[in-house]
């Protein structure tokens, strides 16, 4: 030990004294900390360009690099039936500009050893300072002049569709999705879901108009961090982003999602899962950059924020060994915040783990935390705050929050004071406000065998079996070897009379009744020469609705209004006239896939998913026993008005050796309609006049 003494400096006197006074170190004594170091928060500077772009600069000269970030401050956007277009617009900004192809942009970025990424909310790039001029030239081009080439859109579309497939076996992605769907609802931008049909519906115009409407300097921040002076950053901002044109940007309003009245359990089955991914989650009202948010942060760190000492970690991992890690988050947000607590646990302990998570939540509401617990968490948060300052990006984030949320300029300077002033009573009051063990969505992605054990957590005593996108889960088992979509469809054609009998039908007429609640209407369908179709719905002799298709064009008439049939409506009409349409899907550019064996009530049925040429999907159910079609389900309508429809064939009747659905029941959301076709004439004499379109 002696050999080190000669180089010991004066400041060491105390340590040295301690060393030499005790011959042998008493290892049971916990070392005492020296005086707390002063935590210095780096500074930022700010200005606004003439076009409204706000420039924030954080100087840090430790390493010769610099980063540039364009952040949009805009309202979230509800994308509806084209969900995914803002994301694609953001991503494809760097897929081509007026003067550069994608390959040239990629090559230029990589040549500098730089990085450049674009998204719906902005552009981020970093490089060595010596490349910054060249880099900004590229970055501003990407920001200001993207062209969204259609071949790049098609490529991304293909990738997104592949991604969707990939996520079907990713329990964490599924958990995130069902959590968002449950807590925000699919009618809120935070809860809407990308689907095959929404991705297929996106056009290049969507991408262009998103960029035109929302990438504007008057709603943007340019954040520069690194080895650069404020003056240089300002000059660069003017040079490369000064020509960016202002435009008024739209604002939006949304209904704020609320917590459920009682606990709701949503189970998403994943075949072969060896763990359950549990999430207890719900929306909260908590604004970022407020004292409340700091108190909520304390609360979260007690429950399951970070580290090994949180209650969830101690209970579920260290005590019970249910999981590798259990965590919670309480996220403030301008629009709607979120609470989440969960873990991945082995199948057998799924319900026990939910019990413990709810127990820890309830305990926070019911019992004040110990002073020592609060102090520990304050220490943890102080330490983590100090460590975060090692990254200059942290100062930039502080600056952005101060500007975006109009916080007092010293909000972060005084953060530690505010943190230290929090009392046990503050924590409990916050717990009562944001911890809702009886108003939560409990989502579990896992092996469906564990679902039944979760009924006890649901206020309704019912577990909703759902797909990750929130649509009802259909329980399927494997179809036997040799059975394919094609064999099922061929069997159906046989079951309803066979090819020859169906081919002999050139015309038909159906007369029946439609009932909706107390209302009743007469329905008349006529088909002539396999080419013309007439449908009418009338009540007391008055036409409510009429549709005529003459073989080349068609017209819809509803309550006196006339509207030409769309291409897809005409395709539907042609399919309706083709009694063997199920065998001719290829002709209509439909694809059919056998999903397996499900059930319609107690009858086993093959489930065939049919994807139409527009990308929409219907699921048809064919009886295993009789081969007959029993039910068809599909999403109807778009975006906020989308509704799941279910059509059941209740009864078939026979005429001329052909079976036709004589009684059907259709449910569209809460509405139910019944059809009863008492009369079916095959090859009747029909009058051509009925199929003339009145202009």
């Amino acid at each position: 030990m002696k050999k080190f003494f000669p180089i010991i400096t004066l400041s060491l006197a105390l340590v040295v004294a301690a060393c030499s006074s005790s011959k042998k170190l008493d290892r049971s004594i916990v070392p005492v900390a020296g005086p707390a170091p002063k935590i210095q928060i780096g500074q930022y500077q700010m200005t606004t360009l003439p076009n409204g772009l706000k420039l924030v600069v954080v100087e840090n000269h430790k390493l010769p690099r610099v980063s540039y970030s364009i952040n949009l401050d805009i309202d979230p956007i509800y994308e509806g039936n084209r969900a995914g277009y803002t994301m694609l617009s953001g991503e494809l900004m760097k897929a081509g500009t007026k003067s550069r192809k994608k390959s040239q942009i990629d090559e230029a970025v990589d040549f500098m050893g730089a990085s450049l990424s674009t998204s719906a909310s902005g552009v981020f790039g970093s490089c060595l300072v010596k490349h910054s001029g060249e880099f900004l030239d590229l970055m501003s081009d990407v920001l200001l002049n993207p062209t969204f080439p259609s071949e790049e859109l098609e490529k991304s579309r293909k990738q997104q569709l592949s991604n969707l497939v990939n996520e079907k076996t990713d329990p964490n992605a599924m958990s995130d999705q069902i959590g968002n769907v449950m807590k925000y609802g699919t009618n809120h931008p935070y809860g809407e879901v990308m689907s095959e049909s929404s991705i297929n519906a996106i056009t290049a115009d969507d991408l262009i108009s998103y960029h035109q409407d929302f990438f504007r300097p008057n709603v943007a921040y340019l954040i520069v961090v690194g080895d650069i002076t404020f003056a240089d950053a300002q000059a660069q901002a003017n040079k490369y982003f000064g020509s960016w044109k202002q435009k008024e940007v739209k604002n939006f309003k949304y209904v704020t999602p609320q917590v459920p009245a009682g606990n709701v359990v949503a189970f998403v089955p994943l075949a072969g899962a060896v763990q359950s991914v549990i999430d207890v989650t719900y929306p909260i009202n908590l604004m970022p950059g407020t004292n409340d948010a700091i108190v909520a942060g304390v609360l979260n760190n007690i429950l399951g924020g970070s580290g090994f000492q949180t209650r969830l970690m101690q209970n579920l991992r260290e005590d019970k060994a249910y999981t590798y890690g259990a965590y919670s988050s309480i996220s403030p947000d301008e629009w709607v915040g979120s609470f989440s607590a969960g873990a991945s646990v082995r199948n057998a302990v799924t319900d026990s783990a939910v019990t413990e998570i709810l127990f820890e939540m309830k305990r926070l509401v019911d019992e004040p935390v110990a002073d020592s617990t609060l102090q520990t968490v304050k220490n943890i948060m102080t330490g983590s705050f100090a460590r975060s300052l090692e990254r200059p990006q942290t100062i930039a984030n502080f600056a952005l929050n101060i500007e975006k949320y109009k916080l007092p300029k010293d909000f972060y300077e005084t953060y530690l004071q505010k943190l230290n002033a929090i009392t046990v009573a503050d924590v409990q009051a916050m717990a009562k406000r944001v911890i809702r063990p009886s108003n939560a969505f409990i989502t579990v992605v896992g092996n469906k065998e564990v679902a039944d054990k979760l009924t006890k957590f649901a206020s309704s005593s019912k577990v909703s079996m759902l797909n990750a996108d929130g649509t009802p889960f259909v329980d399927l088992k494997a179809a036997p070897e040799g059975v394919t979509a094609q064999t099922v469809l061929e069997n159906y054609i046989k079951a309803i009379g066979g090819k020859d009998a169906l081919a002999a039908v050139k015309s038909f007429e159906q007369i029946g009744e439609m009932k909706m609640g107390p209302m009743s209407a007469k329905v008349n369908v006529k088909m002539k020469d396999n080419t013309k179709l007439f449908t009418s719905v009338s009540m007391q002799g008055m036409d409510l609705m009429k549709q005529v298709y003459d073989g080349t064009s068609g017209m819809n008439m509803q309550m006196g209004q006339k509207k030409p049939m769309t291409d897809s409506e005409m395709t539907d009409a042609r399919i309706q006239m083709d009694l063997m349409a199920e065998m001719n899907y290829e002709k209509y550019k439909y694809t059919a896939i056998l999903k397996g064996i499900g059930k319609v009530d107690d009858q086993e049925a093959y489930v065939v998913d049919v994807t139409k040429s527009d990308g929409s999907v219907m699921s048809d159910y064919y009886s295993v026993a009789t081969g007959l079609k029993l039910m068809s389900t599909a999403m109807q309508g778009e975006g906020e008005n989308a509704v799941m429809t279910e059509t059941r064939i209740v009864e078939y009747a026979s005429v001329n050796g052909i079976k036709y659905p004589s009684k059907t029941k259709q449910m569209a959301g809460p509405q139910a309609m019944e059809f009863d076709f008492s009369e079916m004439k095959i090859n009747p004499k029909l009058n051509d006049k009925d199929f003339v379109i009145e202009k």
Binding site: L12, A36, P37, V165, Q275, S344, N379, A478
Partner: protein, 442 residues
């Protein structure tokens, strides 16, 4: 792609790349008991990273006892003679610090990130861990279950979660790199208390460790404290065993298909390569950069952008102390045949063998290396770990400043020769991960 590989990429990510030599200052010395100490002083933020790297990983395990090194990583948070069960985290977090550890095939790394006035606490905790950690049944049983959950979460329940394990298993016949650090659960179940105690006694000794500290510290004061806490720890009494097996090159192609529930096909090609630090290793690493770094890299440009057969395609050098692997992998787009993907990958490998990279491409590589080199020393924790790595594997911590020269020394010829020598059919493993729809039936 990081999630697929989980913890095990840590080593690969650290894979060092550099440009013009820089001058990061540090001091290093040995204690009498063989503990190597490295200190780096940086006052920009009042935090200090206290780290200990033990030269033990899964390659030090024996057949039938796989997973021991990683299991120890868990176990050594349980406590010591003077630190009660579960108190490690408590001491560090109460002091405003953070702590964790990770295990690769070659080493185990523990760290505490502390406010700089708590340096001594970190030294106390790490010296306790090295001197007399508690290796007891109660901790063993709890952590056994936790590790099983870790494996379920990171491997069994993850898309393509077995990719890494399958690749190693198919690639190595004689070297213990044939299993991943997490090991087999059967082996963990079979391990007895005595196995754990022996493992601790053999590997967790000062002469098998590097204490690397970086941040807001005073070098002289720190040295005195280190002496106080670590000097009395006895040198290990058991000889540290290292595997001597060498996995040969060119064993003949290994090809297999793994059926699983993930629906898109994944193609993996792994090639045997020399150990990290050898000139050929640097050439392979640069070659991978040509194939895989940035969107203009060849695999991405060809498979993702032009042929559009893959959703993702990349390659990385799995840097290991002993001869190891370089891996390329592609996730096929929906409806694309795995064979088509493999052909497209092979076409890029073949191009590397027949055409020199251009001058512009070589310059791009060097610029990328330079950028990475500048950026990677941004945190004191990262610096402490790099210094420890360089000393442990190469006996030269100063490589943190000079390794870039090894990259700069790589020529176009070296890159082409590496492709010709290693990226060959007889030197590779090709795995297809394919969907078995039966496994998707709920």
């Amino acid at each position: 792609m990081k999630p697929i590989f989980g913890i095990f990429t840590v080593a690969a990510m650290m894979c060092s790349q550099a440009m013009q030599a820089q001058n990061l200052k540090f001091e290093e010395y040995d204690l009498a008991n063989g503990l190597h100490v490295i200190l780096h002083e940086d006052h920009s933020t009042p935090i200090t990273a206290v780290t200990v790297m033990y030269h033990v990983g899964s390659k030090n395990e024996t057949v039938g006892r796989s997973g021991m090194a990683h299991f120890f990583e868990h176990l050594l948070f349980e406590g010591s003679d003077n630190i009660g069960r579960g108190q490690y985290a408590k001491f560090v977090e109460n002091a405003g610090g953070a702590l964790n550890a990770n295990t690769s095939q070659d080493r185990t790394f523990y760290y505490e990130l502390l406010p700089s006035n708590q340096l001594e606490l970190g030294l106390w905790l790490e010296s306790e861990r090295m001197m007399h950690a508690k290796v007891e049944m109660v901790g063993i049983e709890t952590q056994r279950e936790v590790v099983k959950e870790e494996k379920r979460q990171r491997v069994d329940n993850q898309p393509y979660g077995t990719l890494f394990q399958e690749t190693l298993d198919h690639a190595f016949d004689v070297h213990p790199y044939s299993w991943p650090p997490i090991g087999s659960m059967e082996d963990l179940n079979a391990a007895q208390e005595a196995d754990f105690k022996n493992f601790y006694k053999t590997f967790y000794v000062p002469n098998n460790a590097v204490l690397s500290i970086a941040g807001d510290l005073d070098i002289a004061a720190t040295k005195a404290l280190i002496a106080r806490y670590f000097a009395e720890i006895p040198r290990g009494s058991v000889e540290v065993s290292r595997p001597t097996q060498v996995e040969p090159l060119n064993k003949g192609e290994v090809r297999d298909t793994i059926w699983g529930k993930d629906q898109l096909a994944m193609v993996v090609e792994a090639f045997h390569i020399p150990a990290q630090g050898t000139p050929e290793y640097y050439a392979v690493d640069m070659l991978n950069q040509v194939l895989s770094q940035g969107e203009s890299s060849r695999l991405n440009k060809s498979l993702v952008d032009e042929k559009q057969v893959a959703l993702y395609s990349g390659a990385f050098t799995y840097n290991t102390e002993h001869p190891g692997l370089t891996m390329a992998y592609s996730l096929a787009n929906m409806g694309v045949d795995a064979r088509q993907v493999e052909e497209a990958m092979n076409a890029e490998f073949d191009r590397m063998k027949t055409e020199y990279i251009s001058d512009a491409e070589l310059q791009k590589l060097r610029n990328q290396v330079e950028n990475d080199f500048v950026s990677r020393n941004a945190s004191v924790a990262g610096i402490a770990e790099s210094l420890a790595n360089y000393h442990m594997y190469f006996g030269d911590a100063n490589l943190i400043n000079t390794e870039i020269e090894k990259y700069n020394a790589v020529t176009k010829d070296d890159i082409m020769n590496a492709a010709k020598k290693f990226y060959t059919p007889q030197n590779r493993v090709v795995l297809y991960f394919m969907n078995d729809p039966k496994l998707n039936q709920n």
